[in-house]
């Protein structure tokens, strides 16, 4: 064979190889294309049968919630769920298999293209005249590009640094009035100088600001300094710290905390608390006389805390900004949760006695973290805690059925218990001079002498209080009943000193202000009488609207939450 023929043969076989490879490339490409289309279709289909977001299953699930015993519906859901999952995994398998096949076709295509490329000689084009490489000019441009690029990077990073700030650096630093450090908590004097919770400092119904008015009239405006409407109702009582009043309100749709200026009555801020993580979708069933915002708020002087019937609990700063919120779980409570909050050092104490069992929770005031969750083997209760120094220690005392129990507020550990109560407990305990007083309707009024082993010193079984908490001094105990009687006892012996009948019943509790007792009935009439062994009425003052809350006494003023308004009373 001549060289020319050999050349021709080589060229011819090369061309043939090229053509065959080209066809292979086409075939591989077409198959890969078809496969691609199938996989795209599969992808679209797979999206539509995502079982996690199946509308049909969701609808059936909703129906099941309404009718949880429907077995046929359960079976239908199971069948549909199984079908959707099977479809999903079949699609997954198809995609996986398709991927392998696609990979194979692409590999063939690649090899074919590479081979075709290798058959085509691509010699460098030297026809152009040789141009010397202008490296220096290129370097000059590169320098500029790097300089500008570096500057751009610098500016971009700077802007990003400014735009993306972190809130974490501010965590735990809460703006507070005064110069108290963020880790501080108020001392006894500071607490007593304010009205930080239900029934005032320590929760025992004793006011330390005694220079308050004894006469007023809501209808004529006498001694009413200001009166403002509170948009959202609530049976919680106002608390006061410094020149700010805090109270909460809630209905089926909203939960809100108000801050009111003590001087002007202006609502300084109101913070809605509707988007709390874990909050139940459906509001609990509550009775009209309990509502969604029965627990009275509390404050440690830097933060305020509010609890609602939904189990939502919130901590706000004094400007109304949320510090933390959480849901404690929906209270299993047939009237609505009503036990109020109280703080001890850096702990927020939450009595949480429900139908499902009793608990005492302690949350860190700064973070809301759970410090302890102390189980309590008691029945459901609506009473609020008192926090008293009984001589050598501070005790958190709770009235509950069947036990009156005392806990170490720091650890939650039970200190003592006395079995003496029964029924649905609403009145909170009272304390004075080494004795604890508890009461409940259809049960008894009990005086418990504290000591190594606390024991019942005396009891009384008539004219018992249903909601109002008793008030105790060193000498007397006063008890107000929901059917309108007020009874006074010797605190040591339980001897009845006097009993008085009034026009209306009492839900609000008596408060000791100096030598006087302030007690408001359900129609908003405040009776002021001497805290004495003999009944001496000082004044009868009408508010002008119903009221069931506890008044707050601060700096010569009385703050009363009526059914619709918040009143400031003073001379």
């Amino acid at each position: 064979m001549s060289p020319e023929n050999r050349d021709n043969t080589t060229k011819s076989s090369s061309r043939m190889g090229y053509n065959i490879t080209k066809r292979v490339a086409w075939i591989a490409g077409i198959f890969a294309g078809i496969l691609s289309i199938l996989m795209i279709a599969n992808y679209i289909q797979i999206k539509s049968v995502d079982p996690l977001n199946s509308k049909a299953i969701s609808q059936l699930m909703t129906r099941l919630q309404e009718n949880p015993e429907d077995t046929a519906l359960k079976e239908q859901i199971r069948a549909l769920d199984l079908l959707a999952r099977k479809a999903y995994f079949t699609h997954q398998w198809q995609i996986r298999t398709g991927s392998y096949l696609l990979f194979a076709f692409i590999l063939v295509l690649l090899l074919a293209l590479k081979y075709m490329s290798s058959l085509q000689s691509r010699l460098p084009d030297l026809s152009k005249s040789a141009e010397p490489d202008d490296t220096w000019k290129s370097k000059l441009l590169s320098r500029r590009y790097i300089l500008y690029g570096g500057l751009g990077l610098f500016v971009l990073a700077f802007i990003l640094g400014i735009l993306f700030q972190t809130e974490l650096k501010n965590v735990g630093i809460v703006k507070a009035e005064g110069s108290r450090a963020a880790t501080d908590f108020p001392g006894v004097d500071e607490i007593r100088n304010n009205w930080p919770g239900f029934r005032g400092p320590e929760g025992i119904g004793i006011a330390f600001h005694t220079d308050v008015s004894t006469e007023w009239d809501g209808s004529s405006g006498k001694n009413i300094i200001w009166k403002i409407p509170i948009p959202t109702s609530g049976f919680n009582s106002p608390i006061v710290w410094g020149n700010r009043i805090f109270l909460s309100g809630a209905d089926r749709n909203t939960q809100v905390v108000y801050c009111v200026d003590t001087e002007s009555g202006e609502i300084l801020w109101q913070t809605e608390l509707n988007n709390i993580p874990g909050s139940p979708d459906q509001r609990p069933q509550v009775t009209e006389d309990t509502g969604y915002a029965a627990p009275t708020m509390t404050t440690d002087g830097q933060r305020v805390f509010a609890l609602f019937a939904t189990g939502d609990i919130a901590c706000l700063d004094f400007e109304g900004k949320r510090i933390w919120t959480k849901n404690l779980g929906m209270p299993d409570n047939h009237y609505g949760h009503a036990s109020s909050l109280i703080t001890y050092r850096d702990l927020l104490l939450v009595p949480f006695d429900q139908n499902t069992g009793g608990r005492l929770l302690a949350l860190r005031t700064r973070s809301g973290d759970l410090a302890y969750d102390q189980p309590r083997d008691v029945e459901i209760s609506w009473a609020s805690p008192i926090l008293v120094n009984t001589g050598s220690r501070t005790e958190l005392i709770l009235n509950s059925n069947p036990f009156v129990m005392s806990h170490d507020p720091q650890t939650g550990q039970e200190l003592w218990r006395v079995r003496c109560m029964q029924g649905e407990i609403a009145p909170s305990p009272a304390y004075s001079d080494g004795m604890v007083y508890v009461v409940n309707d259809y049960a008894r009024l009990v005086g418990i002498q504290l000591g190594e082993i606390p024991e019942v010193a005396w009891e009384y079984i008539d004219d018992l209080s249903e909601v109002a908490s008793p008030l105790a001094t060193k000498d007397i105990v006063i008890m107000a009943a929901s059917y309108g009687t007020v009874t006074c006892f010797d605190s040591k012996t339980g001897e009845r000193f006097w009993i008085q009948e009034f026009d209306d019943g009492f839900y609000s509790s008596p408060i000791l202000v100096g030598d006087n007792v302030y007690l408001m009935d359900m129609s908003g009439v405040m009776y002021v009488f001497k805290a004495d062994k003999d009944f001496r009425l000082i004044s009868r003052n009408e508010l002008g609207e119903n009221a069931m809350t506890i008044p707050a006494f601060m700096h010569g003023r009385i703050f009363i939450r009526g059914e619709k308004h918040l009143f400031c009373i003073g001379d």
């Binding site: 392998y100 696609l102 590169s142 510090i323």
Partner: protein
């Protein structure tokens, strides 16, 4: 014309074939609750490779040593592009598809960084070997690891169809990106935030036949770009390439275009798709040199300021960067929920709240991590500032180039340029030395460059 049409066709086909179906593939690893099927249900395989037995790890090391040795042998002794290519295919199959891209030398940077700052971490021997061995080979023989062993390089090399030359000024600017990526990867690993090189490995999804949707898109984009810009990840992102580049410059032996002396025939001029061939250049006027010397002096004077400035800016980025850390991210989510800015709890926050761990503890941990990011930001920022300054200084430096040669830092030792050299043809016995000389003299003489 036909050829260009074919190339256009190829690119179109690749665009169609890769993007859409792999878009679907990306959906494969979606999280899904364990189904309650009948007894014949088999759980799907995991996407991430399970731990290997120690004996098999040694096999991996053996394969790595063998591959590196062969790559160096093929590049230096045989000068065989074909064998390098075949070895590359093997590496793609073994380290890529069989080993599913793990362990890899690029990712090993993070393990090493992590163990430096967290001595309690027990780093596997395989990882150390995979990190060090390619560096050692590079120090002796140049980047033969990139040429034929690295699966990430291999998958990109496989799709190079019509490479174009990237202008050197752009190449220089883009060349800064791997340093930034390296700095961030070390920062994230050292602070325990995560192994971002692995998380954002654009090709791992192909090796494992499944990946996050965004990563598949990124990988596809890389491969599509790679058809016209050869190995874009290796050149403009690979953090390990930074180390290899440094060591390759110092390499004892490095491949050259010609096995003999360069006669400046220009045949190899466009042969390198990575722009790693240095061309003969011309001298510059004295005035230009004097201006450059002054500028260089200014650069040296402002260097400390640049370092401090970039370090400071780097430290200011601690907030966005630290969000890459799971603890910081969780702490911020908890904070958002607590403040009511977020209404729905995430699975992470639910789990955290259920754990009973105090949030103050979480916040303290997050603050500590952010502090580490702040310190790390200073270092990384300063490092990037230094890199920029050194790049600029390098561009002021001048070394006359009188013949065609490889840029030892950039050259991947892939051997593509070998066949273009007439003296390589002589070495292979295809043409005679005289024919080779003619090829040189036929076109242009070296002195013409220096006119």
């Amino acid at each position: 014309m036909i050829q260009s049409r074919i190339h256009r066709g190829k690119i179109f086909i690749f665009a169609f074939l890769f993007v859409f179906p792999l878009f679907c593939m990306s959906q494969v690893p979606e999280r899904f609750p364990k189904p309650d099927f009948q007894t014949d249900y088999t759980r799907p395989d995991l996407l991430t490779p399970t731990p290997r037995a120690t004996a098999l790890e040694y096999i991996d090391i053996f394969v790595l040593v063998a591959a590196l040795s062969l790559a160096s042998y093929f590049a230096h002794k045989q000068r065989s592009r074909r064998n390098i290519f075949l070895l590359m295919v093997f590496s793609l199959a073994y380290f890529g598809f069989f080993r599913k891209g793990c362990v890899c030398s690029i990712g090993a940077i993070q393990n090493v960084s992590y163990v430096v700052f967290n001595p309690a971490y027990a780093i596997p021997l395989t990882v150390i070997v995979f990190f060090i061995l390619p560096l050692v080979f590079t120090l002796f023989y140049g980047r033969t690891f990139c040429a034929a062993v690295c699966p990430l390089g291999a998958i990109q090399d496989a799709v190079v169809l019509k490479p174009t030359q990237v202008p050197s000024r752009l190449e220089n600017v883009l060349g800064v990106l791997p340093y930034i990526y390296l700095g961030l990867a070390v920062l994230f690993a050292a602070t325990g935030a995560g192994f971002i090189i692995c998380q954002y490995d654009p090709f791992i999804g192909f090796f494992r036949f499944g990946a996050d949707f965004n990563m598949v898109i990124l990988g596809m984009s890389m491969l599509l770009l790679g058809t016209v810009v050869a190995r874009p990840y290796c050149r403009y992102l690979c953090p390990y390439g930074v180390l290899l580049n440094w060591l390759s410059r110092l390499s004892k032996k490095h491949v050259r275009i010609t096995p003999d002396e360069c006669n400046n025939c220009r045949l190899c001029e466009e042969s390198c798709p990575f722009g790693a061939i240095k061309k003969p250049d011309e001298d510059v006027p004295l005035e230009t040199k004097q201006v450059d010397v002054k500028r260089l002096a200014v650069l040296f004077i402002v260097l400390p300021v640049v370092l401090l400035g970039s370090g400071w800016v780097g430290s200011r980025l601690y907030a966005p960067l630290s969000r890459g850390h799971a603890t910081v991210s969780l702490a911020e989510e908890i904070l958002l929920e607590n403040s009511g800015k977020r209404t729905e709890m995430t699975n992470a926050t639910k789990a955290f709240r259920a754990s009973g761990k105090p949030t103050e503890e979480l916040f303290a941990e997050a603050n500590s991590i952010q502090h580490n990011f702040k310190v790390g930001g200073w270092i990384v920022g300063g490092f990037i500032g230094l890199v920029l300054c050194l790049k600029l200084i390098g561009l002021f430096m001048r070394k006359r180039q009188i013949e065609y040669d490889v840029d030892k830092g950039k050259c991947l030792s892939c051997g593509r340029c070998f066949a273009y050299c007439p003296y390589e043809q002589v070495r292979l016995g295809i043409i005679t030395p005289e024919e080779a000389d003619k090829m040189g003299s036929r076109e242009v003489k070296p002195k013409q460059f220096r006119a």
